[in-house]
């Protein structure tokens, strides 16, 4: 019974099975696996790349930064600084590097050397500039050169860093030369080596070994052949100063070598063997050091300016030098050398002396000395070889050579000095040795010596004068600026006047030194033959002794003496005998002005005589006059002289506009004379004194008319306009009268003439003066044949007389029955019916007036001036038709 209940209970509870999908593993799980794989690989990679650690000890870690500063080799980054810390010895810095694994074996090996690459700028080298931007870098310099070495080398992880770039960056099979340097040189690492001014190598190392400085020079491969055993090395001079015959030479090598210096190589023998590295070569200081030298001694007594390195120069070439200088008591002992090639100059006759620089205007000599001081020179004479010398004073050099010695006496030393030279024709022939006062203290004795080769010039007839004291000399009365070079001016000079005479001897030892050339000239004058004449003069100028007397610009004599008297002084003139013939009783003398300056509106007159008159004036001789004088006179000026003889006097009433010296006497437009003086005479008239330039006789004739050419400005004409501004001139009408007359009455206006050179004058009478004017034209058939020359009242005052000047050419037209008509002005006929009629002839006649001559057909005889004509007022109507043919 109970089993059924349980089964019923159990049967009632039947559960459905739960169906669940079987879960599948999706593919998504691949992704984590992949990522895991990638991660693992990355981790592995970075572990492999971890790098090697090395430590380098540097003195200073300046500029190094942890994690930043790289280790490089030729620009390739090998690793980085990881840590910087202090080294145990507390004096240096430990720098840790992490090196990439690929290059670890090259870096962490025995061959490595590390140095800090900083930007370097020096005169020899500019490098590492990129580190300015990027900061310092550590650079690796491996010693090993081949792979094999690296492989066999041992690894090393601890290094000592270097201070500077190591030296063996160059290949070991390069061409190296060792050089020993002098202590004076400034050669540094990097100094270039030149051959023919082309850089072929450089100094790469400098070492100090055994108290000597050794350089290692590296020659670039290309130029290996240029350097061999015969090569010589020497320093370049930055600045080469040389002096010589050509003067001062300054040479600057390339600017680089000026700053850096440089070493030059010369290789005389190209075929020689190559240099072995460790055999040192001497680096010479200068090129000269290469030459072989001969040493000797010179002693100096009283010179200064000699020191070590003073050069010895012979004929402009430096042949040696003073090397050592010792002061021994009073004398200077020196050791010197000359180059072997000049050894022959050292003989027992050779003399050494010191040259000092001289500056003179002639040129600067020995300029090199100014830069370098004095130098030693020598005078060479053949002889035996000698090595000890005593230097002598330069002046004494010439003493030994034979020269002629002469003594001069002078009143005054003036500008002579011991530097003075003796010149002959401006060539130096000798010099002044010394001078002293004579025992009686009145004169100066000058000793001169003349070079032997000029001995022919020296004889008893010599004249010596001081050339220097006067720069300006008068030689032959022409001005000479005596320029014989400035040196005589500065140093004083003596000139010699001499003639080479055969057989002339030099017997006297003493000569007189004249103080100037003039004095010598004076001598000459005195030695000239001549005669003396006396002349008077009025004291109106200064006459000096020695004034020259000129005749036609030739000196014929001079003033010897002047005897003063307040009224009339007497002058003694000395005339050379050659010119005696020019002195006659017609001679006159006048002083030629120094400068003749006259200025006015007419012009500026400027006359300068020859320059002798500038200084002294001169007296000129004149032989032109016709008048005989009892005693020759000296006039103050040429004009005055002429005045007394060639002058005429004209008396005027009024001479307004006339000016002394400017008013000219004109004849036919030519100036034939001039007015020299205008003054009032006793009768209150104006007396004009004029001189005639030439041909006095033809103007000083009775009947000559002088008239004033005053300016005439009127409606009809402008005449002599110049006279309004300039001086009024005097016109001349000549006459043929043979009588001589010198005093005339002048006319205010141009006179009328009966006949003049122009033509004939016919008198025409008129009741009143019409509008005919002076210079009105006279027409015949409207052609001007003459003009009115004068209008005046007749003597009895009843008529007006018009003088018509008819030109000679037309004289035949005027016949006794010719008629003169007045056509001046114009006629105006006024009529009611016919209108007005204005008739006028030529326009000129409208202004000037004029006359017309009409000669009828039946013409009569030729008229003469005595005939009288009457002026007809109106012109006849048919005048034009009357045209006779007049022969």
């Amino acid at each position: 019974m109970s089993k059924e209940i349980i089964e019923q209970n159990i049967e009632q509870e039947v559960y459905e099975p739960k169906i669940e999908d079987k879960k599948s593993v999706s593919f998504i799980w691949v992704l984590p696996l992949i990522i895991l794989g990638i991660l693992g690989w990355i981790a592995y990679e970075s572990y492999m790349k971890k790098g090697t650690n090395i430590t380098v000890v540097f003195k200073s870690a300046e500029g190094l930064k942890e994690g930043v500063t790289p280790l490089e080799y030729k620009g390739l980054q090998l690793g980085k600084v990881t840590k910087i810390s202090i080294h145990e010895d507390l004096k240096s810095v430990k720098v840790n590097f992490l090196i990439d694994n690929e290059v670890a074996k090259y870096v962490a090996s025995e061959s490595s050397q590390f140095w800090i690459k900083k930007p370097t700028i020096s005169l020899t080298k500019i490098s590492g500039l990129n580190t300015l931007i990027s900061g310092y870098k550590i650079e690796l310099s491996p010693i090993f050169k081949t792979q094999k070495e690296f492989e066999t080398g041992k690894p090393k992880y601890f290094f000592e860093g270097l201070d500077t770039q190591p030296n063996d960056e160059f290949e070991s099979d390069g061409y190296y030369v060792s050089l020993i340097a002098n202590d004076k040189d400034n050669v540094e690492v990097g100094t270039p080596i030149f051959y023919n001014n082309f850089q072929i190598g450089e100094i790469i190392a400098k070492e100090f070994v055994y108290e000597k400085v050794y350089f290692t020079a590296y020659i670039y491969d290309k130029f290996n052949y240029l350097v061999n055993k015969s090569s010589k090395f020497f320093m370049n001079e930055a600045l080469k100063v040389s002096y010589g015959a050509s003067g001062l030479n300054i040479e600057l090598g390339s600017l680089y070598s000026a700053l850096v210096g440089g070493i030059t190589v010369i290789t005389p023998n190209k075929e020689d063997e190559k240099i072995i590295k460790d055999v040192p070569y001497i680096l010479y200081g200068k090129k000269d050091d290469l030459k072989k030298k001969e040493f000797f001694n010179i002693n100096f007594n009283d010179v200064n300016g000699i020191e070590e390195n003073t050069p010895i120069i012979y004929k402009g070439i430096e042949i040696g030098k003073i090397t050592e200088v010792n002061l021994n008591k009073d004398a200077l002992n020196t050791k010197a050398f000359i180059y072997e090639e000049y050894k022959y100059l050292l003989t027992n006759k050779t003399k050494f002396f010191v040259e000092e620089p001289t500056i003179s205007f002639d040129g600067v000599k020995n300029l090199g000395n100014i830069v370098k001081g004095n130098f030693v020179s020598l005078e060479y004479n053949k002889g035996d070889f000698k090595t000890v010398f005593t230097a002598i004073n330069k002046k004494d050099i010439n003493k030994s050579s034979s020269s002629i010695k002469i003594e001069l006496l002078s009143e005054n030393l003036n500008s002579i000095s011991t530097k003075s030279k003796v010149y002959y024709k401006n060539i130096e022939i000798g010099k002044v040795d010394n001078y002293s006062l004579t025992p009686d203290l009145k004169n100066v004795k000058i000793s001169i010596s003349i070079d032997e080769k000029y001995k022919d010039l020296i004889n008893d007839n010599n004249l010596y004068y001081d050339m220097s004291s006067k720069l300006v000399e008068m030689k032959n009365l022409n001005l000479n600026i005596n320029y014989s070079g400035v040196e005589p001016m500065l140093n004083g000079a003596i000139a010699l006047i001499a003639e080479k005479k055969e057989g002339a001897k030099l017997s006297s030892k003493e000569f007189k030194l004249y103080s100037s050339f003039k004095d010598v000239e004076k001598l000459k004058r005195v030695s000239n033959n001549g005669f003396v004449i006396e002349a008077d003069f009025n004291n109106d100028f200064e006459i000096k002794h020695d004034m020259a007397i000129m005749y036609k610009n030739q000196e014929i004599g001079f003033v010897k003496d002047v005897r003063f008297n307040e009224k009339k002084s007497k002058v003694i003139l000395f005339i050379y005998s050659d010119f005696k013939k020019y002195i006659t009783n017609k001679s006159r003398f006048y002083k030629k002005g120094v400068v003749n300056l006259k200025a006015s509106l007419s012009g500026v007159l400027f006359e300068v005589d020859n320059f002798s008159s500038l200084l002294n004036g001169s007296i000129n001789l004149d032989t032109d006059s016709n008048i005989i004088f009892e005693k020759p006179q000296i006039f103050a000026s040429e004009d005055e002289m002429k005045n007394t003889t060639n002058s005429i006097t004209i008396v005027f009433n009024d001479v307004e506009g006339l000016q002394e010296n400017f008013s000219q006497l004109t004849y036919k437009g030519v100036n034939v004379g001039k007015v020299t003086k205008v003054k009032l005479n006793e009768k209150q008239q104006v007396e004009v004194k004029a001189i005639i330039y030439n041909d006095f006789a033809s103007f000083a004739k009775e009947g000559t008319v002088y008239y004033l050419k005053k300016p005439r400005i009127s409606l009809q004409e402008v005449a002599n306009a110049g006279s309004t501004v300039m001086a009024v001139n005097i016109g001349v009408i000549k006459s043929e009268n043979p009588t001589v007359q010198t005093k005339f009455e002048g006319l205010e206006n141009q006179p009328s003439l009966e006949s003049s050179h122009f033509g004939t004058v016919f008198k025409v009478e008129d009741a009143t003066a019409s509008s005919v004017n002076l210079d009105s034209p006279v027409y015949y058939k409207n052609v001007q044949i003459g003009k009115v020359s004068k209008i005046d009242l007749s003597e009895d005052g009843s008529k007006v007389v018009v003088d018509c000047l008819i030109y000679d050419k037309y004289k035949k037209l005027i016949r006794k029955n010719s008629e003169f008509y007045d056509i001046s002005g114009f006629e105006m006929k006024f009529s009611i019916f016919s209108g007005s009629k204005v008739e006028s002839n030529t326009f000129t006649s409208l202004l000037k007036g004029g006359l017309v001559v009409v000669t009828p057909y039946e013409y009569g005889e030729i008229a003469n001036p005595k005939d009288k004509f009457t002026l007809v007022k109106t012109l006849r109507e048919d005048w034009k038709s009357i045209s006779p043919s007049i022969k």
């Binding site: 879960k23 599948s24 593993v25 999706s26 998504i28 799980w29 992704l31 984590p32 990522i35 895991l36 991660l39 990355i42 930064k65 994690g67 930043v68 931007i133 990027s134 900061g135």
Partner: protein, 193 residues
């Protein structure tokens, strides 16, 4: 009869069983639960965790200044910001790049593991965590955004240069994967027995 809704258009169906069929309204495959939801999410989360490691260890940015290359990881970046006293940025970067991913990963892991192992937590809390994770997920991309912008703008060759590092890629992938993981997770599973 069972009730199923379409995940896409949320249309309710009354069906006999939980077999898959096509929604009549939106043509989407209607399923009871997303297929392999938990597996996929879990796998992706694990990937993300794996990727998180290089993101932290490797440099996210390489700055080259005047030839000097400095690589910095996220943590180093944060520290340098702090040194430069840019506290705000430091906090932002720290939060966005370190804290949030950490929370995401831990949260997701926790949820997934709690489905397998019995954890004493209300399901509602789990949903809350999940919602939170999903919401903040995308904000981690800030860091990537910064690196990308910098890298594309600052390109002055040797003078100044910024490049993204490995960590950037890794980080970005990580964030993306967590986002996918969160998206693929069917939260209904939490209430499944």
């Amino acid at each position: 009869m069972v009730l199923i809704s379409c995940k896409n258009c949320h249309k309710m169906y009354e069906r006999e069983n939980f077999d898959n069929f096509v929604c009549t309204r939106c043509n989407h495959l209607v399923r009871k639960r997303i297929k392999d939801s938990l597996q996929v999410s879990l796998a992706l989360t694990i990937c993300a965790i794996l990727l998180y490691i290089p993101a932290m260890l490797y440099p996210i940015m390489e700055v080259t200044r005047l030839g000097v290359k400095i690589e910095s990881t996220i943590l180093e970046g944060v520290i340098s910001f702090l040194e430069q006293e840019s506290y705000f940025i430091a906090i932002v970067v720290f939060t966005a790049s370190i804290v949030i991913p950490m929370i995401k990963l831990v949260g997701l892991l926790f949820i997934f593991i709690s489905l397998k192992i019995n954890v004493k937590m209300h399901n509602n809390r789990k949903i809350l965590i999940f919602k939170f994770v999903e919401a903040i997920g995308k904000w981690s991309m800030i860091d990537i955004y910064v690196v990308a912008i910098l890298a594309s703008i600052v390109q002055l060759d040797e003078i100044f240069n910024i490049k993204g590092g490995i960590a950037a890629t890794s980080f970005a992938l990580m964030v993306i994967l967590t986002m996918i993981a969160a998206n693929r997770f069917d939260t209904r599973i939490i209430w499944d027995e």
